[in-house]
């Protein structure tokens, strides 16, 4: 390398250095340390003690972990499919000449910029026994349907084991669909109009155009939406913490919430690290699986 190239390289590193230092100290090193800790018993006060794979073995037999794993998986499956479908539906609706397009876009996007804590408090009020949701359902006479389904009316949405997880799911779909709609809209704008014209010449109706042009060409976007959605859902914490604390009867206990409890309430740091690695592996595994399925 000549002097000028050296100057270039040094400038490159100088500009990147602060970022790299933060990344190394707060992301790189922690991953290694967390892995190391997951093979130890550590309560934060005495020195870590080597226990081998004991934490992982314990975790596989722990009822709470199984419950959390089941809840989190169910939550992720339902929320990711609903929010992706809803976002795609809204994007297709919006992807044509309509009046007030910007206003609709901003309105639908609104929930995704708001604090999860404020939203959780608001929904706590909406879902509550004397809350607006039950009043609305009573006006629409849907409360009879709920009673027929075996729920005690008015439903204590967040306090009933049958509905608490579903209520948090609904809240999450509500708050993220608009965000993903914008991503889908960007994807839709990249599809050349000529392809639709060609399809119409071949006699394709609206549904056939959607099925054979829109969907296949949106594959990379769908992969992105499903992956980002999945990573977010697997980590669900704030809503559970504020709205249900994992209850009632652990029906909303999620992996992230269990991890928080074990680490910062029971001080089982090593065990919590093992939980974190199972979570990270799950997220990584599912992302790879999606890549296979939606392959780009």
């Amino acid at each position: 390398m000549g002097g000028r190239q050296w100057g270039e390289a040094i400038a490159g590193y100088v500009f990147l250095l602060p970022y790299l230092v933060l990344l190394a100290v707060f992301v790189g090193w922690p991953i290694g340390y967390a892995l190391w800790l997951s093979f130890h018993s550590y309560d934060l006060f005495s020195a870590p003690r080597w226990v081998g794979i004991e934490n992982y073995r314990f975790l596989l037999n722990e009822p709470d972990f199984r419950i959390a794993l089941r809840n989190t998986t169910l939550y992720t499956l339902v929320v990711v499919s609903c929010q992706t479908a809803l976002a795609l539906f809204l994007a297709v609706l919006m992807d044509r000449r309509i009046r007030g397009k910007d206003l609709f876009r901003v309105t639908l996007f609104l929930p995704s910029v708001t604090s999860s804590v404020a939203i959780s408090l608001i929904f706590l009020f909406i879902f509550f026994k004397n809350g607006v949701l039950n009043q609305l359902l009573a006006i629409l006479h849907l409360d009879r349907l709920l009673a027929w389904l075996g729920l005690s009316v008015p439903v204590d949405w967040l306090g009933d084991v049958h509905t608490a997880l579903g209520a948090i799911m609904a809240q999450n779909v509500w708050s993220t669909a608009g965000f993903f709609m914008v991503v889908f809209l960007a994807g839709l704008q990249d599809i050349p109009e000529a392809l639709y014209e060609a399809a119409r010449l071949d006699g394709a109706g609206t549904w056939a155009q959607f099925r054979h042009v829109t969907l296949p060409l949106l594959k990379p976007t769908t992969f992105y939406v499903a992956t980002v959605g999945l990573i977010g859902c697997f980590q669900v914490f704030d809503q559970v913490f504020i709205m249900t604390s994992g209850g009632p009867l652990k029906s909303t206990l999620t992996i992230a919430y269990l991890l928080y409890q074990e680490a910062f309430m029971n001080f089982n740091m090593g065990y919590a690290c093992a939980i974190a690695f199972v979570l990270a592996t799950l997220i990584f595994g599912c992302t790879m699986l999606q890549r296979r399925l939606l392959g780009d």
């Binding site: 970022y19 990344l23 992301v27 708001t114 604090s115 809209l185 990573i231 980590q235 914490f237 928080y260």
Partner: protein, 272 residues
């Protein structure tokens, strides 16, 4: 037929838009209601009262402090993240140096690591640094946002033509001069995106501040609100008024910059 279709189509959109806004509107109206009115379904309060806001500030002396804490943390966070993202993005996009490709891949990978993996080791690092229960302790929680910002800036700068730099070099600017005099002014749109994403992330952050902060006077607003909820379990008009302190500033920022924000979302991770 076509008319009925259009009508139906608008009905669906309006219904979805209403569903998006309803919870905020409902919370806002409730915050202006007298406590006795809290459970009445009619959204509009019978008599508009600021009593709830007044009472939040009067009965929770730290409330204003939490708002100011959040504001101060957000300002510092935005400034720091913006500067570091612009620097990092400039380096990765426009300067050739050995290892650049690898570093870019590391950046991408760091955006995909679940926060929970970092909670415990970062907490132990902080306790060694003596940063637990300090504002400095909030720094590690920001790194994920920093990676996203750096990535966005890099993608933006890559799209710029090389000629601008050649002209600057001919004018005798070094890489450092170029950064301040050429790159920073050019990055307006992407800088706006990074500014709002990092503001939102900092203003709304809950889990990490909850872990790091334990003195009430250091709480940021979301952590304070959780504490506040515990104090007024059943006084919904107060809780709604409290949550408005967290919601309204974001809505104002969003209203001002929504174009940049929506554009940033639309382009993240989609091109290349």
């Amino acid at each position: 037929m076509a008319r009925a279709k259009t009508l139906f189509f608008y009905l669906v959109l309006v219904a979805c838009a209403l569903a998006s806004v309803f919870p905020f509107a409902f919370a806002l109206f409730t915050s202006f209601k007298a406590p006795s009115e809290a459970f009445s379904f009619g959204a509009w309060p019978a008599a508009l009262t600021f009593e709830n806001y007044h009472e939040v500030l009067r009965t929770t002396p730290l409330f204003l402090r939490w708002v100011l804490n959040s504001l101060a943390v957000a300002v510092v966070t935005v400034a720091l993240l913006l500067l570091l993202s612009l620097m990092g993005g400039f380096s990765l996009a426009r300067i050739a140096f050995p290892g650049r490709k690898t570093l870019f891949l590391i950046l991408l990978a760091s955006m995909m690591i679940p926060n929970q993996v970092l909670w415990i080791p970062n907490y132990t690092t902080l306790s060694r640094l003596g940063w637990v229960n300090t504002y400095w302790g909030l720094v590690p929680g920001l790194v994920a946002t920093l990676s996203t910002g750096t990535f966005l800036v890099a993608q933006f700068l890559r799209a710029l033509p090389i000629e601008i730099e050649e002209a600057a070099t001919l004018d005798g600017l070094s890489r450092y001069g170029m950064f301040w005099r050429l790159i920073v002014p050019l990055t307006g749109p992407v800088a706006a995106t990074v500014t709002i994403t990092s503001f939102m992330a900092s203003w709304n952050a809950f889990a990490w501040p909850l872990i790091v902060l334990n003195s009430p006077e250091l709480f940021t607003l979301p952590v304070g609100l959780n504490f506040f909820k515990g104090l007024y379990v059943t006084r919904w008009t107060l809780i709604m008024a409290g949550s408005m302190f967290n919601t309204l500033p974001v809505l104002v920022v969003f209203a001002l910059f929504q174009r940049h924000f929506i554009k940033g979302v639309a382009t993240t991770g989609l091109k290349e």
